[in-house]
């Protein structure tokens, strides 16, 4: 009896597989379409009178989530947000820098007046304080502009539409459509994005979303990207277009990050995390009138202040460490010089240099402080450098540190692709509880970053002769 049953069952399953193959995997789509068509016709017969959401909402959705306009509208909005951020952050950043560095001098004078030893003055004023000042000047204005706009779009109900627009791309990559949402969260903070992956039920697709979240730049990395775009990419163009070009460059980098998300998801879902994409229903909530008070509270208190505070906590010791490394001399050379000199050949291979790599190592706890760390290392032990404007920054990097366009481009690429910060790595561990996947999550992006920057450097050098 049981043998007969097994035979019957396996022949049944075999036939099912044959029929399934013959339908070329389109069965699910056909059934879902049939269900939707049935539901539409039944509801159409039973429901009289206009109802549901206002027709305006539906009209708006038809444009915003349409196949033709959906993507361009999304890109235009993204570009606009970055453009406003870049243009708007420029002056406040400069003013903050001037003010905070003036305070640094006053602080140093005060310490000298109090007969503090030179090393204490250096450590506190030119190390810790300068680290904090950099973080505030570089990060606060863009965040205070970017976050309210981002929260506005979120409050309006636009983000689920982004998920809707990107769904088909993700399912092409063998990943879950909700990954569009977790990816959007990653723009705010990758650690938050990794936690958000809980909304994906399938463990396979959730892991893909977690491992690729790092490829969208978080707010800690945006200032680096914005600075590089403004100082290098935009400076090569007439001032009238500079900010537009800078915004375009940041959008380009973001798109590249999204592209890498797709490519890596696709590769993962065809190799180690093989499987089919599962379908899901994303409810498009009605558009809401954004609540200004709530936007300001969420964006300024929950996000700006939170990220800034975290950055400051990390920047204070990092500033101190950098000052010490620049001032403790071994055999006539500072520790910074030793390490960066040692890292230089490797950095050169990647189109970067030793100081940049050193900055990234020091900044593992928080990506926010990469730029300040780098600048402190460049400006060296003398600490006489004060950067009041972007042109002086340009001067420091190009004239004194030998930067080229290749350095800037590769730094943007490296910043986009490199390993997640330690908080994100910790979060990956907490979410996956797997040592293996945590290591993959940390090292895979780094390997990709090395490979891409190496390739770009070699190609550029080969072409340039």
């Amino acid at each position: 009896m049981s043998i007969e049953r097994t035979q019957n069952s396996s022949s049944l399953l075999r036939r099912a597989d044959e029929l399934r193959q013959a339908l070329h995997g389109s069965f699910r789509d056909d059934v879902v379409k049939a269900i939707y068509a049935d539901a539409e016709s039944i509801a159409g017969k039973a429901v009289k009178g206009r109802g549901g959401r206002t027709t305006f909402d539906q009209k708006l959705d038809r444009v915003i989530t349409s196949k033709i306009f959906g993507m361009p509208i999304m890109l235009a909005l993204l570009g606009l947000v970055f453009w406003i951020t870049i243009v708007g952050a420029n002056y406040p950043s400069q003013m903050l820098a001037i003010m905070l560095f003036w305070l640094e001098d006053q602080f140093a004078l005060l310490l000298t007046f109090l007969h503090a030893p030179w090393w204490l003055t250096g450590f506190l004023a030119h190390g810790v304080w300068r680290g904090l000042a950099w973080v505030i000047a570089v990060m606060l204005p863009p965040m205070a502009i970017f976050f309210p706009m981002f929260t506005f779009l979120e409050d309006l109900g636009y983000l689920p539409r982004v998920g809707f627009n990107l769904d088909w791309l993700f399912s092409k990559a063998g990943a879950h459509g909700k990954q569009a949402l977790t990816m959007s969260m990653g723009f705010g903070c990758n650690a938050a994005g990794v936690i958000a992956c809980r909304i994906i039920d399938s463990p396979r697709e959730r892991l893909i979303a977690i491992l690729t979240n790092n490829f969208v730049p978080c707010n800690g990395r945006f200032p680096t990207l914005i600075m590089l775009a403004t100082v290098f990419v935009a400076a090569a163009f007439p001032p009238a277009y500079a900010s537009l070009i800078a915004a375009g460059a940041v959008v380009g980098v973001v798109l590249l990050g999204v592209l890498f998300t797709f490519i890596v998801s696709w590769i993962l879902s065809r190799t180690v995390l093989r499987g089919e994409a599962s379908s899901f229903t994303l409810e498009l909530p009605p558009y809401r009138r954004p609540n200004l008070i709530r936007i300001l509270y969420t964006s300024l208190i929950d996000r700006t202040a939170f990220v800034l505070w975290r950055a400051l906590i990390m920047a204070a010791p990092a500033g101190g460490v950098i000052w010490l490394c620049s001032n403790i001399r071994i055999g006539g050379q500072s520790i910074t010089a030793w390490t960066s000199g040692w890292l230089d050949p490797f950095g050169h291979l990647l189109g970067l240099d030793g100081v940049i790599l050193l900055a990234y190592i020091i900044a593992i706890p928080a990506n926010e402080i990469v730029v300040p760390t780098m600048l402190m290392a460049y400006s060296g032990a003398s600490m006489m450098f004060e950067l009041d404007s972007m042109s002086e920054l340009r001067g420091l990097l190009i004239d004194q540190s030998g930067w080229t366009m290749l350095t800037a481009v590769n730094l943007m690429l490296f910043s986009l692709l490199h390993n997640p910060c330690s908080t994100t790595i910790m979060t990956i561990w907490k979410e996956t509880r797997s040592r293996k996947w945590t290591i993959v999550g940390a090292l895979m992006p780094l390997a990709i970053a090395f490979a891409v920057t190496f390739a770009v450097a070699q190609i550029v050098r080969y072409v340039a002769g």
Partner: protein, 264 residues
Amino acid sequence: MNNDIELQPSSSACGGCRSCAVNMRQLGIDAAKFDYVVALAGNPNTGKSTVFNRLTGLKQHTGNWPGKTVTRAEGGFEYEGGKYKLVDLPGTYSLLSASVDEEVARDFILFGRPDCVVTVVDATVLERNLNLVLQVMEITDRVVVCLNLMDEAKRKGMDIDHRSLARELGVPVIPTIARTGSGFSQLLQAVTGVINGSIATSPRKISAHGRVKDAVDELSELVGERFPGLPNARWVAMRLLDGDVEVKNAVDSGELAALAEGLR
């Protein structure tokens, strides 16, 4: 209001309250032995929990589904002398994909063999909610649709012909307002009617065309031959065509055979 039931604590049994009009008594978790099992399905945000609470009272047993971290709420009520266990399924939009919620809901409808599945739908977004109804009706014939949030639909200027809807779906459709309890006596009547067979249902099946239809028809027949007595051979066939690993395992392990035996 004459058909409405009022919320009464289960202790104050039938003191001339209006619930006597429908002979309904909330049992919470008191009832030890149940005569029937009723499952409550529906999309999220359709007022499913309100329906659940109105039927069972505020006392309910919550725990997890075996082996899953999805909350499972259970309660009971008594109606016209019969004791009913009500099991609240996770709110889902569909029963197709592999999310834990959908799996739990689907498994209970399939293997838990409830005597009736009440599917709560939001009348204001009927079309979207019907997707789930159509899928539930593929698994079981014993379906009652609870057309909830009728007050909101009315406020939005919608006029829903529930008779036409019932005709199209082939199962009873009861308009309700769970917040006030309006329509609940009819809902309970429909549930008992479906259970004792006085209301015959003939659920509409998902339409298929062309090669899909041929494949579904052929495989349904094979499933029917293999598992005589299985009421949802067509659904099993469709799941197999979709490559559903769990249903495949149920066929392989004999779990489905046991189910068919039990239903014979």
